[in-house]
Symmetry: C2
Subunit: 283 residues, 2 copies
């Protein structure tokens, strides 16, 4: 199922119509929730093994790394995806950056300034919880930048991402796609369950009122930045288990595609074996 | 078993004799490897729940956080502990810092300069993979600082850690305790298994030749910095499963001891429910 799943999630080139992409489907996977959870769990060992190879490779000076970009409307499950899919990977090799509203210092710089600082070092699986895409999403919907600046940013993003890819970064861009109805259910749950009150922000309802403007901003951004080097994946995310499975599978397929080998020793193994065996007694 | 395990690992005040502490025991735990692995796995849900409460609490302005300090000889399993015990926690809430030999810039500053910059923000479980203790361990064994400076550092560390604790940091200091024989086996495995060559560094054998000097440096450091506010735990670590279980249990007991509650809403819940129900249709 695995290749099928990844292929079907890859956004084809051209105009994007989000309302034509189902949010509650499980494309490329034959099975229900418990099968999906089991399939994700079963990935753990291979994910872990391949990630360790990537981690090892950095010791040879290789520039390769992964950057998972998570975008989606409020409640679409960026946090849950990190917990359940990224959580399968050794935390030593993971670097998560959550982008909030830019600070005054950040606003005084080009929009990519703070992003560049957060690009993962070689060997890491970096995760962007929101990203430079906010600068063409909320920035567009909320008029936080002039139209000509927003327009400029699509190209700047493509140039930036092409530069990352050329520098050894495997980009995995995911839009977690939920329906307006599903968002309502999830916000309701955050209001009904006192253990989830801390996740709710009254401002979320102000953003929700602009749902269609956001969907349109996503459609434009997805189309304009769906490059060959760094394509988008639209993940049906009403089913949390499918969302987690899909992102786990994308990470796994990305690692598989890197043909990762264990580094060769840069020392004389036999000599070191002799040193260990014959070396001075520990003192 | 759990309280027993934590209590027994806590280093009592006074002089420390590492050779009197067994490295291959499993104190406070009745069971073998598979029981231990199952017990660690079984902790996952509670660990995850409590860590999310800590994470939630930060939204209220609480300063509380955890800092796990991992020290130990080469091959003692700092990496494995992070993978298997810290790996049970949501990676969003984890910040790992690995301290290598200080850079020239870092050496020009007080030894705590780079450490302070890595103290986790409120809400996080921070992990130090090596730490400021290297500045009284390798620094002592390798004469990297004058004796009077090493001497000064024990007090500076106690002051620094007391300040952290006063600032809301729950410190969990662990020395992963292995035998010289076990280290030899593990280095041998790194040499015998080509998939582990990348983990081996010929310099490890130079350090191994100073085993007893390191043990002595540890004994002094442990005694001098085993404060009430930030006590040490010596973890028998020849058994990897026990080491992982013990550190997992220490994290769990620390979180349990924090009496973490879900934050209360800082908004009118009923008003927001009305807004969600009656609000403008999404547009």
């Amino acid at each position: 199922m695995t290749d099928a799943l990844t292929d079907v999630l890859r956004l084809p080139p051209g105009p994007v119509e989000l309302s034509a992409i189902e949010t509650d489907a499980a494309p490329g996977f034959d099975g229900g929730k418990s099968d999906g959870e089991a399939a994700l769990f079963a990935m753990g060992e291979e994910l872990s093994d391949l990630q360790e190879r990537l981690w090892a490779e950095r010791t040879t000076g290789s520039p390769r790394r992964i950057l998972l970009v998570l975008q989606g409307m409020d409640t679409s499950g960026k946090g849950g995806t990190m917990r359940h899919a990224v959580g399968l990977i050794d935390p030593q090799g993971v670097r998560i950056t959550s982008f909030k509203a830019p600070t005054e210092e950040e606003r005084a710089q080009d929009f990519l300034w703070r992003i560049r600082k957060a690009v993962p070092e070689p060997g890491y699986v970096g995760v962007f919880d929101r990203s430079h895409y906010e600068d063409v999403l909320i920035a567009r919907v909320r008029d936080l930048a002039p139209p000509e600046e927003i327009e400029r940013r699509y190209g700047a993003i493509n140039d930036f991402e092409a530069e990352l890819v050329a520098g050894g970064v495997a980009l995995v861009k995911c839009m977690l796609h939920i329906s307006a109805h599903e968002q309502k259910e999830r916000l309701q749950e955050r209001l009904d369950n006192p253990e989830k009150h801390w996740k709710f922000n009254p401002g979320d309802l102000d953003e929700r009122a602009r749902w269609h403007a956001y969907q349109e901003a996503y459609e434009i951004a997805l189309e304009r930045t769906n490059s060959e080097a760094a394509p988008w994946h639209v993940i049906p995310s009403d089913k949390k288990w499918y969302r987690n499975l899909a992102v786990g599978q994308l990470l796994l397929d990305t690692l598989r595609g890197m043909d990762l080998r264990w580094p060769e020793a840069d020392f004389d193994v036999e000599e070191q074996k002799r040193r260990l065996a014959d070396g001075p007694p520990v003192r």
